[in-house]
């Protein structure tokens, strides 16, 4: 303005070429992305009314008229979650140990890491499609889906913890003449146990949330009931189911928070 210099904060990306190149790239991408976006405005306007009806449904959720289906779905989801988490966590222990480079020989390490990568890459619902085809409709297929996903999640985190353990303790126990199994139990396990239990409880939360969707492809749980209620435009029932899911997740998160705090 009148010749005085004003202070300006330093830009996030120092190199001007990179900065402007990045801005240009983002702008170009946005133009292309929006150009390929087809929006049916008439349908959208119609949808807003329906959206209003749906929002209104949350004010008077209908728990009663489909009470039997809802309670069956919720019980299926909960039992599925418990069994899947326990099975997944139990199986994740050997896989996790196998995937820790400091404890497992190379071929086992490679096998376990591949298993983990496969389990983590595919979304649960895709695994559910395949398992429903194999085991038939129902919560058993869903349980195996969740257990498979749990293995990948828990084994990866367990392997990382195992690779970070304090070697001095292992050496001390080995010096007392302990065998391989005794080293695992007395030197390794105490170092990773607290976090492992905490993560298992966290995974229980995730599994419940996932159990609410894999029902869409026939793998049991509340998802099927939810899907039906959407198809029938029974928004009051939908609202009731969603409120139940939110309530259970909140309760589980609160409970697991307390347990994890006590473990530390």
């Amino acid at each position: 303005m009148n010749g005085t210099l004003r202070w300006r904060p330093a830009p996030l990306i120092a190199n001007p070429w990179l900065r402007w190149g990045l801005y240009g790239g983002v702008a170009l991408y946005l133009v292309l992305a929006f150009a390929s976006l087809q929006v049916n405005w008439a349908r959208l306007a119609e949808g807003l009314v329906r959206g209003g009806a749906f929002a209104a449904a949350f004010a008077h959720p209908d728990f009663t008229s489909r009470a039997a289906e809802i309670s069956e779905g919720i019980i299926e989801s909960l039992t599925m979650t418990v069994v899947a988490t326990v099975l997944g966590v139990v199986l994740a222990v050997p896989v996790g140990i196998g995937a820790a480079r400091n404890l497992a020989p190379l071929p086992i390490y490679a096998f376990c890491r591949t298993l983990i990568a496969l389990s983590r890459t595919f979304p649960e619902i895709i695994v559910a499609i395949l398992l429903v085809k194999m085991f038939g409709f129902g919560p058993l297929a869903g349980m195996f889906t969740l257990a498979f996903a749990t293995i990948g999640f828990m084994a990866k985190l367990l392997a990382e913890d195992l690779e970070d353990i304090d070697e001095a303790q292992v050496e001390a126990v080995r010096a007392s003449g302990a065998g391989r199994a005794q080293i695992l139990v007395y030197a390794v396990q105490p170092q990773v146990m607290a976090r492992f239990v905490g993560l298992s409880i966290y995974r229980l939360d995730i599994n419940f949330r996932e159990s609410a969707v894999i029902g869409i492809v026939g793998a049991g749980g509340i998802g099927a009931t939810l899907n039906t209620s959407f198809d029938r435009y029974e928004f009051d029932t939908t609202a009731a189911i969603l409120l139940l899911i939110i309530g259970i997740v909140m309760a589980a998160e609160y409970g697991s928070g307390i347990i994890r705090k006590r473990l530390q």
């Binding site: 019980i75 039992t79 069994v83 890459t121 595919f122 395949l130 038939g136 129902g138 959407f230």
Partner: protein, 272 residues
């Protein structure tokens, strides 16, 4: 708890006292019974004949899935572009909506502890407890099938994730820097821009990229409920039992997810 106890006349070391061992054993018993009970309830309606022939079914399925019909790939480029757009635009929208929520939720920046903070926390919890697929079902019902429903579904799911991690970062900011900015006579807005923003920027960028990579993974399946992208093609092929096409789509999803994870890991490593 190193406890010495007597076993067959000699002293021996044991991890727990007799009483603690009993409690421990009882806890395991209750736990196991509970899980068995859950298993029973869960399998009340399971048809075991279908379960026992699972290995056969798996073999049959693999036989049908192989060899993959690669020619279907030509039809997949447009849905893949849609999938990536859903994830990217959805993440952007999620950031735009989630960042203000985080500022309302953090103890350090919230305008009111009594009103704004509980509401913001409620928004975060609701968004986090409901899977993107459920959001998509809801939006497909409301807005009709299409990419737009997918974008909004991804955005709604991302609000909670971004909001939660960001507000935790905001609560861990260094108070001394904020105080220094305040001491220069900065207004509320200036305090946010020059005090808080620079401190959380790296975390913020990291969270956004991380969420983008999760969103790519989730948007590949949103089409199963009608929200566009490659999932729509997958659903069509699965319901037509065109398993050789399904194999190609699985491969496409696998590659997309792995590439996005790689990009996200590289970017995050460069930022932090």
């Amino acid at each position: 708890m190193p406890i010495t106890s007597i076993s067959d006349g000699r002293m021996g070391w044991q991890r727990r006292t007799g009483r603690a061992r009993l409690v421990n054993w009882f806890g395991w018993l209750v736990g196991v019974l509970f899980v068995v009970q859950c298993w029973d309830i869960m399998n009340a309606e399971t048809i075991w004949d279908f379960v026992w022939d699972a290995p056969e079914q798996a073999g049959d399925l693999l036989g049908r899935m192989w060899p993959p019909r690669w020619s279907v790939l030509d039809r997949l480029w447009a849905p893949l572009w849609d999938t990536i757009n859903m994830a990217t635009l959805g993440t952007m929208l999620g950031i735009m909506l989630g960042a203000p929520v985080a500022f309302l939720a953090a103890r350090t920046t919230t305008p009111s502890m009594a009103v704004a903070r509980p509401i913001a926390l409620l928004i975060i919890v609701s968004s986090r407890s409901i899977n993107a697929l459920i959001w998509a079902m809801l939006l497909v019902t409301i807005l009709g099938p299409g990419v737009l429903a997918g974008i909004i579904a991804i955005a709604l799911r991302s609000i909670g994730f971004i909001g939660k991690l960001l507000y935790e970062a905001l609560e861990e900011t260094d108070a001394a820097q904020i105080e220094a900015i305040t001491a220069t006579g900065a207004t509320r807005g200036q305090r946010l821009i020059f005090g808080f923003l620079p401190q959380i920027m790296p975390v913020f960028a990291g969270i956004s990229v991380y969420r983008w990579d999760i969103n790519i993974r989730e948007s590949t399946v949103l089409g199963l409920v009608g929200a566009g992208g490659i999932g729509l093609q997958l659903n069509a092929s699965v319901s037509r039992l065109a398993w050789p096409e399904v194999t190609v789509m699985f491969a496409a999803i696998l590659v997309t997810v792995i590439v996005s994870e790689f990009v996200s890991a590289k970017v995050r490593a460069a930022i932090t």
